[in-house]
Amino acid sequence: MNTQSGAERVRPVSETSAIKPVKCVVWDLDHTLWTGVLAEGDDVVLKPGLGDVLYQLDRRGILNSISSRNDHADAMRKLAQFGLAEYFLYPQIDWGAKSVGIAKIQSQLDVGMDTLLFIDDQPFERDEVRAIHPSVECVPAESYVDLLDHPRLRAAIMTEDAGRRRLMYLHEQARRQDQECFVGTPEAFLATLAMRFVISRAQEADLLRAEELTIRTNQLNATGITYDSDDLRRLMASPMHSLLICELSDRYGSYGKIGLALLEHQAQYDYIRLLLMSCRTVSRGVGSVLLTHLMQRARVRGKGLRADFRRTDRNRQMLVTYQFSGFREIERCDDRRTVFEHDLAVVQGFPPYIDVLIDY
């Protein structure tokens, strides 16, 4: 009956951490992106094939940014002439140290330092960045021709969500600017977003994204266990299971598919084997929406509700979500797994600032 025990699906750590995908490539400009030195009045020329490299990276959902010593306005004007300005998020173009620019990019994108790759023709600049940020991979300018075959840039999964990633960061930039000007509690700001949260059954087209979510999600992930799309396809077809996927959108645009839950239907219990929400949504107050739906669903069907939880060094927020929703630990297993149960006596409604649609 109970075949989906969490432990057997854990992959060896070495297998998942050996190739940590790069999330953002940080480009130098002079003699790296183009030939020549802009500030010295050269008529700079884009390196051959570079536009295509940027385009392909972007399609894979890998972001691009800039750390360059130049005049910001001049450099951006030149990039616009090449038709490339829109590809770069949070470009850091000034006369300061590159390690400082890279720290800003990392903090603005809110990604791990070890997911950045820096490309620059000057050994001095690469050494300066490496000295301050040892986890940033630094490569020389000429390696751009092989960049698309770099193992850490090939590991990315091609999904519709990946292709929209840069746009979603741009939307997020706009939201943040508006939020900074907003006076009131975070909840009051959320109410201005007109958020819509749709919960549906996962379809074939969702499976790659679902796999990607299990790999990329750390903070709001109940178990940290990864599933590949074949595992998920099997579970999707199983009458014993429900695989649910969520999409969030607001007046700025869609956040894409951002939530995933795997329910195992037992005789007396609905058992949550997997629950995660993308870190894109952390500040949106939707972390408990899917969980609330699962609670309401179990209660309506007269079932109990249990959940697997495995503490990792990054998922404290998921622990808070479960425990503040009223789940209690009933069993602690050997493999660092905990079983939570909710008595469903009191089930909170959905947040007032979000429109939830159950589409299945």
């Binding site: 500040s283 972390g287 404290r316 979500t321």
Partner: protein, 80 residues
């Protein structure tokens, strides 16, 4: 300590500004409390009183009233 917690709650929960939250009021019954608020409340308590709450103590019951939070903070302060 209680005043500091009360101030945070008054500023972050949609309650009537004229009625002060009492020490034994269950704040989770006063109005809608989001998962976002739960995390902020925990961060606020930890940062304001320089403590780190253990996993076992991250429970609704320890954060539902000002009294409960004061007791929780007291427990960690005795340890240090």
């Amino acid at each position: 300590m209680r005043e500091k917690i009360r101030e945070f709650i008054m500023a972050n929960v949609n309650v009537d500004e004229d009625t002060a939250v009492k020490d034994d009021d269950n704040i989770f019954r006063l109005g809608y409390v989001s998962s976002l608020f739960a995390m902020r409340l925990l961060n606020f308590i930890e940062a304001s009183f320089a403590i780190t709450v253990d996993d076992e103590d991250i429970a609704l019951v320890n954060f539902s009233t000002i009294d409960a939070m004061a007791k929780l903070v007291g427990k960690y302060r005795t340890y240090s």
